[in-house]
Amino acid sequence: MSADTAAITDRPAWAGRFANWNVAIIALTVLVLIVASASVDNFGTSQNFGFLVLDLLPIALVALPMTLVIVTGEIDLSVASTLGLSSALMGYLWNANQPIETIIPVCLLLGAVLGAVNGFFVTVLGLPSLAVTIGTLALYRGLAFVVLGDSAVADFPALYTDWVTGTIGGTSIPNVLIIVVVLAIVFGVVLHATPVGRAVFAVGASEQAARFAGVRPGRLKFWLYVVSGLVAGLAGVLWTLRYSSARADNGAGLELAVVAAVLLGGVSIFGGKGALPGVIAGVVLLASLQNALRLSDVSNEALNVVTGVLLIASVLAPNLANAVRSAVQRRRHRTESTPGSPSRKDLS
């Protein structure tokens, strides 16, 4: 649905606009961090930094593959349910007295398999991903309840839970930040500096044209779904260890937060456009705003409103700026040539 939008728009190249937006969102994030540190009590403390990182961990993780999936023009709404099922299986196996060293790889594998199921429906059967992953969103969450039922499994080994909640050496940098940073670099490099990344953008811009250029869109998407599932499975493991509680309803509703963060990061929902640094900034921006507002005793409902407004504004603002710019330009044109002709809205 993306290929036919370009030809008759009056806008200047999206590429340029988009690069600006990526810089803008990063600048905005830095600004929010600075302002919050200066004006919100306790925001800048190292302990709070740790909390902040732990809070944004699952969203950041899941957002990485989600970015790639959305750039190809698809979507994966089942990630939170995959996280939940991974967590539920972890609890089930732990209850069954399996060693944690086995459980963790099994949960990761499960995530990959669940992703592969999505990939199968989307690429092999060619079904729309929005519909498929709404289906698996319900299916996987349901299976999580089937696996673990109503119980919550606790007392995971302290060695692991402590590592997840702990910090590096004497610093206040959480251990899990290492995972996020490493994965973010990997995903960033893959998306922006490898042939695979070029293919991801190509598929998002036009699947058919990509196929004519030797890209295998089906395969590519299939593996992206597998990776998305795998990372969601990992997020399930980390979630379970962080809260030391395996439950079927873990992470419920996270998918919307992840999609919101990715879109806030400037990724086009129609595919073909986006960049990972912007997405990371989007995740950090949302999490730190929430953290700061909570510390300022702003209520939860305000957080909702802020999230929503920010999301819309993130796309609206550059559009408006653009419209203003071209209106000014046009006016200049008009006054130069034919003064007095009435101005109207252009069609675009």
Binding site: D41, F51, D55, G149, S244, G251, N291, L295
Partner: protein, 336 residues
Amino acid sequence: GGTTKESTAGDATAAPSSSTSAAADPNAPLKEGLKIAYLPKQLNNPYTDVEVGGGKVAVGELKGEYKLVGPNDASASSQVSYINTLIQQQQDVIVVAANDPNAVCPSLNQARKAGIKVVTFDSDAAKTCRDAFINQATTQGIGESLVKMASELAGGSGEIAVLSATPNATNQNSWIEVMKTELAKPANAKLKLVKIAYGNDDDQKSFTEAQGLLQTYPNLKVIVSPTTVGIAAASRYVSSSNYKGKVAITGLGLPNQMRKFVKDGTVKKFALWNPADIGYLAAYAGGALASGQITGAEGEKFKAGKLGDYTVGASGEIVLGPPTEFTAANIDQFDF
């Protein structure tokens, strides 16, 4: 090889994190200006509002600073974020209803390490990570009273069903366990528990589940719903369907929500403790902890304003008292 549940079972219990080793001083003066924060399971829930309303009154009496925070989604993970925030804000007491007994534990212990007293109410956290727990009634007492009401309404024999909250609601599950033990007793041999349905504390889901129960079990005599959302939804369904008068509803409910159904005869009796008192008692318990009057050890005593004197029970439990039964005769005396 590897780390399994059994191999770690030992050290899990061997890690008592009681940070308060100081002895209690029953005569210590109650501190003023204490910052007491309430973190219920979920904000914007009528039952919760009544509870924390009681807390607000008590904090006022204690001349402390009252604060209410909480998520809209009843999840443990959001609660953890709030606990972290409260730690940053250096509260003196956190009064929390845990959405998951274990998930909130590490954060609560971090809070206690920072010198914050933790009182749980409504729904307990693991015993190792809080100083005291305000129990609305003993689990045993509630379970027994639910069976007693059901038996009376069923006339001693017949099919009954339970409409609970979520499948993993700690409270409800422990009450249902007690109910099962009670029902196994010879005195209740003729009562048959046919189904436990879950309405997820969601009004609509409970409504649909009540429908399903009545369709599936035509001979059902009583629906016992040990949750305020469930009992209201079930009553509403029955009162508007042709099951009205044939099937009795009972359980735990809020008088204001149930008044209509008690008046129109759908519901003969139901029970509840006074939720405002729970919040009220929690504030005093927190105050006593923060002032050093008690440490949470068994046998310690403290005063709880208008509610009188309380004694800390085993493993830091403080029991509010027996539940009240509401009927058409007395319901108008209550407003919550």
